[in-house]
Amino acid sequence: MSEPPRLNSIDGPPTGWLKRYIYSTDHKIIAMQFLFVSLLFFALGGLLAMLIRWQLAFPGDANHPVPILGRLMDWPGGLMPPDFYNMVFSMHATIMVFFVIIPLLVNVFGNYLIPLKIGARDMAFEFLNGLSFWAGLPAGAIMLAGFFLPGNAASAGWTSYPPLSAIWQNGREAWPLTPIIINFIAAFLCFGYVCAYGVKLRGKFVTGAVSILLSGVAAWGWVVGVRAVAFDGQSAWFLSLLVLGFVSLLGAINYITTVVKLRCPGMTMFRMPLSVWSLFITAILVLLATPVLGAAMVMNLMDHHRLTGFFSDGGVPLLHQHLFWFYSHPAVYIMILPAMGMVSDILPVFSRKPVFGYRPMVYAMASIAFLGFVVWGHHMFQSGMNPALATTFAISSMFIAVPSGVKVFNWLATMWGGNIRFTVPMCNAIAFVSMFVIGGLSGIFMASTPVDIYITDTYFIVAHIHYVLFGGSMFGVFAAIYYWYPKMFGRMMNDKLGYVHFVLTFITFNCTFFAMHILGIAGFPRRYADYTHFELWAHFKPMNQFISYSAFALALSQIPFIINFIGSWIWGRAAPANPWQANTLEWTDVTSPPPRGNFARIPVVHRGPYEYSSPCVAEDWLPQTRVLVEPASAKG
């Protein structure tokens, strides 16, 4: 009756706990591995943010030494040195962008949702998919190694503009033991994965002992190589992003192939849920933009080793900025499009109403992605590039607001006339729309070149990116976690804790970041360890303290989430297959959590994903796979 599930293209059905849970090629396990690691990095990035806020609330204030770390690092008076402060904000941004938001959106939900939502048993390239996680570990380890190197981790901002980033933070000293151990373990795990699936001797897979030996030797070679290349925090930063770029590419190739080739019967492109569309478009962005970042990182590394002079030593510093933003501006959309897509899935489910303007939503995302490649110069209006170029980029940047606006109006129209259920994921999704509007509109100020002259490099920018990335992407991620958690872990999350987390986060988030707009309008500069010697800004100390207290409260507001996340896994009520009465395949056709291979039988899709409150049926939902006896009058 049912065809045998194709479990694993490489080694047949998995045997042993190692290949089932650790070195798994199952897209769901890989997604969860990414989820755990990203959330750990989220905690680290959040703690770094607390250090930033402590410094700005009490700059040079001997009565408020930095707690714990001040004593641990043996700073004079417990006060943070300015170069350490530079390191803290550089690493906060780097970790949040490259190790939290991008993996959370692209890798976690890309992995989890794409096969389930298009009716596939797994990704197109399962081994490659696992590799994208295990090869990501060494990238993270190199980045973390920076913290242990003499002369601090990278301190030139998350943009690492040369010539500042070309300055050596310390000589070519030997690495301390801690980063060596971290890097060895990460590389050992990565090579272990390769051995488990990729290395054959005389036509047979190598045994455990040989694997361990091989991985050990390879990892040792890797660590020696990494030490030679990354001798200080900044070179570690470059190398880490280079490795991470490869990892992103592995994922992107996989997502594109899966969406194009593995859709189940009846799942036409325009019957795909918008989250799959957004992840598909994001994967194309990653595929086209990341190689440029890789090239920039290689050039920077060679400059750093004094082998070349692309950017410094008589080179052209602006070239780095062009290359970096050619990647990092599309990366902004990499960090928001999947959140938009997932919110577009969640809003109709809880409004019990079809998404308003499905095709315009797709076209809007596609045009955002296209325009995303021609607006990078708006990060460089004041960089000294040709002022004529600035006008060009101003026009394209202004017009990227149009498709974003279309999406916002469509979300509102989706809610209009709905029958809204205010579940925790829905609250987070509405918060996403609301915060994204603020973040998006403040972006228009920056696209206007003369306004940008004043507000660039002020706290207005900080406010803007946090409204987009935290208020936008992170609320999107929270919505998605609350929404798909029952599917992922087979348990319901606690609603009360969820509401507490949402309300506290929403309030403290706005207290923290809205005030930054006001600082920005006053020209308050970013990246200043101390501002009290400026007549212009000294009197903003109380306001900074307010922001800092709000930020501490924001950090504490995540505690209910942590309790909920871990606690529900242990004590949560078992989740039914479709707790939200949603239409899409991951809810209607598989259990919670889905088994390996996902579908007992590959489903056949008859209609679009958003047929809520259809007049054809009595209930207010109509699954994509349900066969109606009478021909449905609904289009879709």
């Binding site: 901002g157 004041q382 000294g384 606006g405 279309v406 003369p450 004043y454 200043y528 501002y531």
Partner: protein, 261 residues
């Protein structure tokens, strides 16, 4: 923005869940989609073109203003962690700066170029590099090219970290470059800012309309660096004083002959 937030709240209240009610079954409306594409596009188009005019006035002033208006010109060289201010003197033109003797220059290429200071060719080899470093950092920290005729009357000797003086009610062209890393020359009170990039010369224009004296204490405007330039980034504070046109002409435009009329 307020409208959208208001709309969200209204929709949330109006269409909250009620038992037994079914939501409307609507897939979209092409006319509405077109409407909310074209209206924002039109608004943004207007914004773009009004922005462009202001931008041109700030960044293209030296090329586009009538030749009868003579701007005050000032060269600012960013350096970790101070602002160096150079005035062009009577001819209104700057000489060449930031050209340094290289560690291999045992002979200066020619004596005149380096202000009559002898190259360290007579010194033992191990002292040469030190001597060149000393020359570059102490004797000629701005890397001035002494044989450039345009630079003869430049006011550069006290350039290091001095206060910048500009005339009131007269356009000021600020030329910007950097000695080491990227800085950003910012006058928060005047809403102007531009990065100083090593190897590039940027220029912007502004016109102060009020003298510092009229401002009252502290009697100067602050200059800040707003592009991360290292651990002393936040200490890169400068001062700008707006003085009368007569004072400015007497102090900064008489050197090396009479100011051009």
């Amino acid at each position: 923005m307020v409208l959208v937030q208001g709309a969200i709240v209204v929709l949330m209240v109006r269409y909250r869940h009620r038992a037994g009610r079914k939501a409307r079954y609507i897939h979209g409306n092409t006319r509405l989609e077109v409407l909310w594409t074209i209206i924002p596009a039109a608004i943004l188009g207007v914004l773009t073109f009004s922005s462009k005019q202001v931008w041109t006035a700030i960044r293209y002033a030296p090329e586009s203003r009538p030749p009868t208006i003579r701007p005050a010109k000032i060269l600012v060289i960013g350096q970790m962690f101070k602002w160096n201010i150079i005035y062009p003197g009577a001819d209104g033109e700057f000489g060449q700066y930031l050209v340094y003797a290289k560690p291999t220059d045992q002979w200066w290429p020619d004596r005149k170029r380096h202000g009559g200071v002898n190259g360290p060719r007579d010194l033992p080899a191990d002292q040469v590099e030190f001597e060149i470093e000393r020359y570059n950092t102490i004797e000629n920290p701005l890397g001035k090219v002494y044989d450039d005729p345009r630079g003869k009357d430049d006011d550069y000797e006290d350039a290091l970290a001095r206060a910048m003086e500009v005339p009131v009610n007269r356009p000021v062209d600020v030329y910007l470059t950097s000695k080491d890393v990227i800085h950003s020359f910012t006058l928060p009170n005047f809403r102007v800012k531009l990065d100083t990039v090593p190897g590039l010369m940027g220029v912007f224009t502004f016109t102060p309309t009020m003298m510092s004296e009229q401002l009252g204490p502290p009697g100067y405007f602050e200059i800040a660096c707003q592009e991360l330039c290292g651990q002393g980034h936040f200490t890169m504070q400068g001062r700008m004083v707006v003085i009368s046109q007569e004072q400015y002409a007497a102090k900064h435009e008489m050197r090396g002959g009479k100011a051009d009329p």
